[in-house]
Point group: C2
Chain length 169, copies 2
Amino acid sequence: MVGMRQVVPRMDQVQAGAWMALMTTAQLLPAALDEQLTADAALINFEYGILAALNVAPDQTMRMGELAAAAHSPAPRLSKAVNRLEARGLVERVACAGDGRAINVHLTREGRRTWLQATPPHIEFARDTILGSLTPDQLTALTELLQPIISRLDPDACPSDHPPEQAGR
Amino acid sequence: MVGMRQVVPRMDQVQAGAWMALMTTAQLLPAALDEQLTADAALINFEYGILAALNVAPDQTMRMGELAAAAHSPAPRLSKAVNRLEARGLVERVACAGDGRAINVHLTREGRRTWLQATPPHIEFARDTILGSLTPDQLTALTELLQPIISRLDPDACPSDHPPEQAGR
DNA sequence: CTAATGTTGTTGCCTGGGCAAGCAAATAGC
DNA sequence: GCTATTTGCTTGCCCAGGCAACAACATTAG
């Protein structure tokens, strides 16, 4: 019994370090993003992602289902976010011609204006505050290291998608 | 005016890729953690962290302030989490002898039992599902790449686990 | 045509978290 | 000693998100 000090499995030093770094990042990053966006545009990151997705969609319009998929969001969460955006006039719901139960979400002129205003500080924050400390080679390395983790967390996550995708396609 | 297509700043391909990987990780990781812990021990990650911190503390006891610092949590969040844990008998509040306004949080026997039971699946999940796809060298690289990002997000985040703020400096 | 099933969104209820206000003990100023 | 400030923690109020129940329309089977 003397050798049996720990009942629980242990991580070695390297694993523990990576684990802590991942956890800390996952904790701080969303908070920092929401803080920046809320201060600069009264938007949370999730809402910004909706505007961004609509902005690059044909006719600035998407179906709820598409939007939910693009934002990796369950339907209720998206529905409520669209409620909020619609109440502010940034977005409008339009009945879908072909299908009576589908809803088209359309980015209003005001919504696009808000997105245009919100984006520069957001991109700046991402580049300067977050990515700015790494060289391009390091960024590439980071991306490749995170990719397998993402794949294991969500097998459906594909490399190219998501909110802050660049504006001009 | 023809050349002026975009008013908003852009990220290059490398930056955008890293950005997306970071965002996706930050989105998926906490959800996966809470899911695993909730299923296996009816704890969310934050609560698990509290038990874990108490478990390694001298006398299985910490002051609220210490705990909040250890969990990188604002005071109200910790207070409410301790409320929940105390209601389940996993933790108890004890008045602090020397200071009438301070509260010592103590891990009960039942709390330690819960932590012991919750930990193996948690560690397994972390090692196998999340870190398992990377070699030790890659884990080291990942840690070093995330470190500067963490530092920029929170200047107070200390790289090493416990630089124990010993009283006598 | 009608009934059963499937699809698409929305609403309600509950929980966790942020922030500001509050309370109580300790400390500093007078 | 007595007020004023500071420290340590808690509570209340509000918002965002998860899940299940629901409503509305579409589709398929009989």
